[in-house]
Every structure is written in C-alpha cells, then in structure tokens.
Symmetry: C2
Subunit: 348 residues, 2 copies
C-alpha cells in the first residue's frame, strides 16, 4: 500500500464557501486530447469600430446613440434579463411549483473608449476608474429599495459567451439574493457566528503563511488559487482587511484593487500568449438592508482554458450530474501563474 | 401596475431536488446574437473507422486491442479520473484545507459496434442491451465494498467535450457520494421523511394531471421538462413507480426505458435536424450499503443548444457567480419538443 501524495493520487477537497466537495485527478493531466478545440483569433482590433454597438458615438440595436464618452460609460442593457416594472402577483405556495416575480436592472459598463483594449492592457489609473464606477453603481443600485443584490461581473472572450470584444462588464441588480451568493453567505455566516472572525480573513492569513497558492500580493489585496479551485486556472482576489463591500473602499484600496487586477490578468494573458478568456465577478454583501458582518469582499476569476489556448476544460457529464472535477492540482496551477511575468507579452 | 404573467415577466422558480432557485427571463429570447457559434459537421460516418479507439478490433492509445465485439462493450478507461489503489492516509482536519483520497473505477461503454450510430438511430432492442449493461455494471461496481456511488452518464457531441463520435457513455464509480447527488438525496429524504412518499412520484402525478410539460409517456416512464429546468431544452425521464435503482428494473421496464430514450433523443435530433448534443446521466440510490427509501430513479438530459444548431446557451458570468438563468420558459420548450415527430428526420 503506497502512501497518499496529493500530486499523484485522486482526492476530494472541501470548499468551505459553498460547503461542497470537488474531485481532483492529478494523474489525468496526461491524457491525450482529440476533442473540440477553440478558435483563437488574435487579429489587431481598431481603437474605434463603426460596427461596434459599445463604441462611443455609435447607434445601438434599439436605435439609441451612445454619447461621445471618453472614460468609463454605463447604460441600461437593451436586452436585459430583468425588468424594473413592479407587477401584481398573488402567491400560491406549492411543493413543486414555486415561482415568484423578480424585479431588477441590467447595466453594461464599457471599461474604455478604446475598442482594442482589455483590462490587462489598460493603465492602472484607468482600471481604477472602472473600480470607481463599480463602487458608484453598487451604491446607487443597492440603494434602491427593491434591490437586494448587485452582481458585478465580466464575461471575456467568445468562449465565455461574450459577443463583443469591446472591453466591458455587466451589472445585474435584482430584488432577491441569488442562489450561489445566498449559499456563500450562509457559510460565511456560520463561520462568523462560530468564531467571531471572517472566514476569508482567517483563510488568507493561513495562505500567506503557507505561501504555496499565493500568486500576487499588495498592500490591500491577495490573489491566490483557492485550495478548492475548480477551474484549471481559477483564482480569487481577496481584500486583506474584512471589507464587506465596495462602499467601504478607500481611494488607496481602489487603486490597489486596480493594480492587482492588472497584474493578475496580465499573467493570464502571458500564460498562453493570447487574450485570456474568463468570467470574473465580485462577491460582497447584499443590499437587502440587513447587517452583514459575516461578509468579506472577494472577486472570483473562472477561466475555462486547460492546456493551451485551444483546449478548454469541459464541465460536462460527470461535473453536471455529480461533482466538479479538475485535472491538475491547484498548487501546480499556482506555481505556473506565479512564475509568469507581470509585463504583458505584447509589451515584451 | 400590470399583473404577472409567466410568459412575459422575469421570475424565479424553485428546484426542490437541489433546494435552489433559478432565474427565468422569457422576454430575453428576442435578443440578437452576435457571439460565438458552434461548428456543425454532419458528414456521414463509416460503420467502422480504423482510427477510432472505440471500434471493435482496433488498438487503443495504451496498446491494448479491443476485441471483435458485436453488441455493447465495456472496458476500463485508459485515462480515468480515479484509481483503484487503496492508499495510506492520515487525516488532519482543518477548517480550510480538508482533503481526502478518493478511490474508484472509470469505465467506457460502447453502445454499439457501429461507429456511425447514436442512441436515437439504434433499434429499441439494442438500446435495451445498453440498459442491461447499465444494470449489470451498477450491480457489479456498486457491489464492491469500497464503492458508494456509481455515476452512469453520456457526453454527446463535441460541444459537450465528447472527443469521439463512436456511440458511447461512461461510468465513474467511487468511494464517496458526489456533491450534487448528496444534495439531491438530502432533499428527497427531507420530503420522504415528512410525507412518507417519494418527491418525484408525487411530482410526476401532478405533472401528468397538468399535462403542460410532459413530452412523452409510456407504461413505466414519463419524459418531461421540469418546472425548474435550467437548460433551454433540459428534460428528465422519471419512472412512474418509485424504483430506487436499476437493479429493481424488470425486463419490461428496461424495454420501456430504452423506448422512451429512443423517442426523446429522436425528438432532440429533429429539433434542429442535427445530431443533438447533450450530457445525460442517471440519478439513483448510492451503493453505500444504507437503506434508501427516499430515492427515485431518474435520468437528466442537459443539452446546451438554445436557438439553433449553432447558438448555444452560455452558462457563464452571472450563472457561474450568482444563479442559473434561462431565456425561454420550460413550458415553451415543452410545447416545441412535444410537437416534434417521433420519427427520426433521417428516416423521413
Ligand atoms: O472522459 P472524456 O470523455 O475524455 O472527457 C469528458 O468528460 C469528462 C466527464 O464528464 C470531463 O471530465 C471532461 O472534461 C470531458 O472532456
Ligand atoms: O449578456 P450577454 O453578454 O449578451 O450574454 C452572456 O452573459 C450572460 C450573463 O452571464 C449569459 O446569461 C448569456 O448566456 C451570455 O451569452
């Protein structure tokens, strides 16, 4: 009987944020891949594209014209998943057919006027302006009496369902706290009620001690591959101090966040020397008017690629039905990301 | 204030199997799509492909030669995610770094000798032979003392990470009950303990009464779009009687299952007149040696396509961070699937 080694033997790891286990199969990275490959087009985009509905001055599908904006530009999504209207509804409760109307607002945030940029290619000061707008939007939307949660996120790259390369993110603000956030909150709360401290603050302290999964660190933030990461190059940016949400950020903290986002996404681009696709988003306290001492600001990055620009990890059959599964260990991925330069390959 | 209408207004629905909510945005189906489209190659495949590692008589990557099999053929996956070895392990418990070795067996099931077929194109009697093997495998693997769960599934189509068009499925048998199954079990058990009946038996009875989301029905099974379905054309096959697992299936029930699988996958192919991609798999009682009166056999189908053979639904940013979201109502999808012929378009 050989003794267990996490670099060679299949094992499960526990995710304390979601209270669930994931399967790690380090030995599986060796299998050959004969399946679907992703297109990678690295054409140089123009700074302004007359056909882009996000570029300044252009007309959108619904006939509205974008202003001649210079910096960050926010507008209501023309094809939102939510509607502002308050509707009349008489609830009938039932074991199997529970349904309730959901109100909300969907917005699009253009990060820059320049169509050809992405976050890692922007200046830190300009990314800071995006963070400023995230803060304003969280405050404005979260301040509406019918909004209980503000989800800020970015889908980057065609493979992540992004239909326009213009640098942009989204906000979905809604009247309920969505499922995954509610689950995270439940586990943060359980830990806080038991220990009187923040789960993520304590976790980050331990990670800094161990220093095996830390990718980047500055005055205010840490970027790491979580011990329980699911995606091959999944990472999380966590604030060092227990900040519940964006409103509490100082100017300096916003600059620190902008800086760590730039460095992390630069490393991502450098990994396969392509514009690295991902979905990223912020988890922070809901705006439901309740106190949330359990919350601790963090930002998730879920990139789909596995071995190269062309081969992604498919979260399919087993993963959809049974459990998330990964083929390299988080420590192996952390080592690779850590070793990559903070200077973008295009500037090399 | 207009009154709520589930065909027009965004709403959330409750999934009692997973105890979570999903977001439905019926009004969003109208948005134009400018993003990634999927390749659809409908070339006629040969009945035997000398380069296919699943075809009978061919040599696999690891040098082993497949026998000259005629019907269904099962073998251990050459690049499994699990290993049979029992390893020495001394647990150290910790809030943030919980990890335990996982033992198991991965198998591949070739559904047919014929490289060019898929389930909907096979004869019911031949699909029945696949069900026979599922039953045998569940019994054999589940009978091993270190196997607590047997996940049977199929990834079909390149877009679902399937790397070989030869008709085949997989089995991942392991020493723990995986996260999603454990969660389903928890909710089935809660209902069973409270009501003394099966959640899915009671649900299916109600769905048969309402008859709005039922796609197919035979003596022993029902195929329907669940009220809480997430994927645009997600369906579930449920046994009418409360069967805990495959072992309890009679010959006739296995034939009924084969028949409803054929009809359902035929409708899927007829939807866009292509070989319809999906991940499908069986949820049934774990093989952990405990009694499981709460369990009720069912099979999930998770197809990714949304509007056409080329446009899939992306479960990305909001969906990964906040909550599953769909753009058409389950009732609209059910109506479309119901209206499609049970005769495969290739035989038309
Ligand atoms: O086992 P396969 O077919 O090589 O691989 C496919 O199915 C597995 C089980 O759902 C996934 O883990 C892989 O990501 C996917 O590519
Ligand atoms: O809003 P977009 O960019 O058109 O759409 C994209 O992001 C949304 C939010 O994650 C998803 O619901 C869509 O499936 C995806 O294609």
């Amino acid at each position: 009987k050989s003794s267990f080694n996490q670099k060679d033997h299949p094992h499960r790891r526990y995710n304390p944020l979601l209270d669930e286990w994931i399967l790690v199969s380090p030995q599986r990275a060796k299998r050959p891949w004969q399946g679907q490959t992703e297109k990678t087009s690295e054409e140089q985009l123009p700074a302004h594209d007359p056909n882009c509905y996000l570029c300044s001055g252009n007309v959108r599908v619904n006939g509205e014209k974008n202003p001649d904006y210079k910096g960050v530009y926010v507008f209501d999504n023309d094809f939102g998943s939510l509607m502002k209207d308050d509707v009349e509804f008489s609830e009938e409760s039932s074991d199997f057919f529970s349904l309730k109307p959901e109100r909300g607002i969907n917005r699009v945030i253009c990060f820059s006027k320049n169509h050809s940029l992405t976050l890692p290619e922007m200046e830190v000061d300009d990314i800071k302006k995006v963070v400023d707008v995230w803060q304003q939007q969280y405050k404005e939307l979260g301040g509406l009496d019918y909004i209980s949660h503000v989800q800020i996120f970015e889908n980057k790259g065609q493979v992540m369902g992004c239909s326009n390369p213009h640098p942009h993110g989204q906000i979905w603000a809604q009247s309920s706290v969505p499922s995954i956030v509610a689950k995270t909150q439940e586990n943060l709360k359980k830990y806080f009620d038991k220990n009187g401290t923040s789960l993520l603050e304590d976790y980050v302290k331990k990670e800094l001690e161990i220093n095996e999964r830390i990718i980047l660190e500055n005055e205010d933030f840490v970027a790491l591959v979580p011990f329980w990461a699911v995606w091959p190059y999944e990472t999380m940016i966590v604030s060092k101090r227990k900040i519940e949400n964006l409103i509490e950020f100082s100017e300096n903290e916003k600059l620190s966040l902008a800086s760590i986002i730039k460095d992390l996404t630069t490393k991502y681009d450098n990994l396969f020397e392509i514009s690295f696709p991902y979905s990223a988003g912020i988890h922070q306290s809901p705006t439901d008017g309740k106190p949330h001492p359990e919350w601790h600001f963090h930002m998730h990055f879920y990139p789909p690629l596995l071995r190269s620009a062309e081969v992604k990890k498919f979260m399919v059959g087993y993963e959809m039905l049974a459990e998330a599964q990964r083929d390299v260990t988080p420590e192996q991925s952390a080592e690779i990301l850590k070793s990559l330069s903070n200077t973008h390959y295009k500037c090399g």
